[in-house]
């Protein structure tokens, strides 16, 4: 049996810089997989490749058995299935919160304007930001903006959600509200692939953790095992430095 999201020997280079050097990774349906690793190890690039925001040079990515990388793939249909949330929120500053959320369902899923707005309102109510629906993003706190960004991705009802260091640009006191929302999604068995520096969060929410080092997966396994009994020297070093920085 094949996994829901499959990465097979994925390669990506920027000019001479080889960012991904043969990544193999499986994400089962309803599974939460966390990618950890030092800055520049390729976590973000990997997520962007799955969403086809970057093209890959070698290997293959499959969703539900269907190839979604390379030529002849309907990118817009793929992206409607694969949501991504960015470190820097990237909300559309010229649209109100509700318009941000309703835009893609209306334009891509071809929902009527009314249905799209209704769906947006339901989601905003869920994260307790319904009263902010007509505000513009720059009136919201970072945590609120990131929650809206997550909801904007959810409005497309994606089959898998990619989260790219969604708390790294937030003030410390705003991190919790975003992580709580992500944990709730995990409880509702949303399939997620998460790049994160929040080790405590990864430990708690992930079914599986993969440690990326220099464009390769150095070690992967159940989260309890990676955090309590890492097998590889590099994983141990990385986790030790995190503990020394009092972040775990």
């Amino acid at each position: 049996m094949t996994a829901f999201l499959e990465l097979r020997d994925v390669h990506k280079r920027f000019g001479h810089l080889e960012v991904l050097r043969g990544i193999d990774l499986d994400v089962e349906e309803h599974q939460v997989v966390c990618l950890i690793g030092p800055s520049g190890c390729g976590k973000s690039t990997l997520l962007r490749c799955v969403n086809a925001l970057e093209t890959i040079e070698g290997g293959e990515i499959r969703i539900d058995g269907e190839r979604v990388s390379g030529r002849g793939v309907n990118l817009n249909a793929l992206r409607a299935d694969v949501g991504i949330v960015f470190q820097s929120f990237n909300l559309f500053p010229h649209m109100s919160v509700v318009q941000n959320v309703a835009l893609a369902p209306h334009k891509v899923l071809k929902l009527s304007k009314k249905e799209a707005l209704q769906r947006a309102d339901t989601l905003l109510a869920r994260i307790g930001l319904l009263e902010k629906r007509d505000d513009y993003p720059d009136r919201l706190s970072g945590g609120q903006q990131q929650r809206v960004a997550i909801v904007r991705a959810l409005a497309m009802q994606p089959r898998v959600l990619l989260l790219d260091e969604v708390t790294s640009a937030l003030d410390p006191e705003l991190v919790a509200e975003v992580l709580t929302l992500v944990s709730e999604l995990a409880l509702e068995s949303m399939t997620m692939l998460i790049a994160t520096h929040e080790m405590g969060f990864a430990k708690q929410v992930a079914n599986k953790v993969a440690f990326l080092y220099a464009g390769k997966i150095e070690e992967e396994g159940p989260s309890e095992q990676i955090f309590s009994d890492p097998q590889r020297e590099r994983t141990r070093n990385f986790l030790r430095s995190i503990i020394e920085a009092k972040r775990l």
């Binding site: 817009n76 249909a77 960015f86 559309f92 500053p93 891509v108 497309m156």
Partner: protein, 381 residues
């Protein structure tokens, strides 16, 4: 030896070795500056009065609307009296400062010198302005007021010419509005074509770049000359079927659109490029197509950002409708120069200039306001 750190934490190398005793700043007078200013102030006032007197004398020779000129004259004459007064105040404050310094009341002395400096700046501000304005009046009065008579005679500037001038100006406004409405979509198209990605689009991209380079590089007046005369001489199909007047009008529009399309395309491009790629990434990641991303995410943000430079180009386009006078369109400059030949007086052309100012000055102020508001908003973030 040097002192140790206060808490003995080994910061001795960083902490300064013993506090340096604070020296009192020496007193510095400005007697020279203030006496020069006081003397200059008297000279400025004298010169201004003399030039105003000269101007006034020319008013008695010439005839026409003199009340306004006289009011300005009197106002200026009275205002300029402030200049020597402040010059004297500056000198007095400077002397007071010196006296206080001699009594070692340094703080008070420095305050007096500060007063003196403030007064000197008042002399510079008012004096310079008065001098320049009076000099302009002096020039106008030159040759017994002939400059004023030739260029600023109200009779020819407005009273006997305004019907013709306004009729001509109405054509300028029509030219401007039609050209602008066409420039906006045309230049957006050029800008987008210029920014098309990929090797396959290179030929059409090069075409857009060539168009922009050529039409920005050629003086507008030559483009107009070539297009309007060239197309009507060559009897170009679509334009040929129009009546002569309409043909001139639409060829003029075509020339203006081509010239300004090239400028505005670059403004658009700057705007589109200023939108961070992460906005595109966010839109594409939601499944929006390239065109949907442009239409709903990039262009709306870009347009907001380029409103001020865009409006600047509008002002320029509005003024450049006058260039179409060389191809014989009966717009305001053409009509004004006909009046000029009829009356042997340039005042109708000044009248035409005034018509433009009535539109362009409020417009540019509006643009300044928008720029200021935009800056305030981005800085607040």
């Amino acid at each position: 030896m040097g002192s140790t750190g206060v808490d003995g934490s080994g910061l001795t190398g960083i902490a300064p070795p013993g506090a340096r005793p604070r020296r009192a700043a020496p007193f510095q007078g400005n007697l020279l500056a203030s006496s020069v200013t006081a003397a200059a102030a008297v000279v400025i006032a004298g010169l201004t009065w003399w030039m105003l007197w000269y101007f006034d004398r020319s008013l008695q020779v010439a005839h026409g609307q003199l009340v306004v000129a006289r009011v300005i004259e009197v106002a200026l004459g009275v205002t300029v009296l402030a200049v020597p007064w402040y010059g004297l105040l500056a000198l007095a404050a400077s002397l007071r400062g010196r006296r206080l310094a001699a009594r070692e009341a340094f703080a008070d002395a420095r305050m007096a010198i500060e007063d003196s400096r403030d007064h000197i700046w008042v002399v510079v501000g008012i004096g310079l302005t008065a001098l320049i304005v009076a000099f302009l009046a002096f020039l106008l009065a030159g040759n017994n007021g002939s400059v004023r008579h030739v260029m600023l005679d109200w009779t020819y500037m407005w009273r006997r010419t305004h019907t013709g001038l306004l009729r001509g100006f109405w054509l300028n406004i029509k030219l401007f509005v039609v050209a602008e409405v066409l420039v906006l979509p045309w230049s957006l198209l050029v800008a987008i074509v210029r920014m098309l990605p990929g090797r396959a689009c290179a030929p059409v991209r090069i075409l857009a770049i060539t168009y922009i380079d050529v039409f920005r590089g050629v003086p507008a007046i030559i483009t107009i000359y070539l297009i309007v005369f060239g197309f009507s001489l060559a009897k170009v199909p679509v334009f040929k079927s129009l009546s002569p007047d309409n043909q001139l009008f639409w060829l003029g529009i075509l020339a203006l659109v081509l010239v300004y399309g090239a400028y505005v395309a670059e403004v658009y491009r700057a705007g589109l490029e200023s939108i961070h790629w992460s906005q595109t990434a966010a839109a594409r990641s939601l499944g929006l197509s390239q065109m949907q991303t442009l239409r709903h995410v990039v262009v709306p943000q870009a347009v907001r950002r380029i409103v001020p430079p865009l409006l600047n180009d509008f002002v320029a386009l509005q003024k450049d409708t006058a260039l179409l006078s060389i191809v014989g369109l009966l717009e305001i400059l053409n009509i004004a120069s006909q009046y000029k030949n009829q009356f042997f007086n340039l005042s109708p052309v000044t009248g035409a200039a005034m018509c433009f100012l009535v539109i362009t000055i409020p417009f540019t102020r509006f643009v300044d306001y928008l720029i200021k508001r935009d800056r305030a908003r981005t800085q607040a973030q």
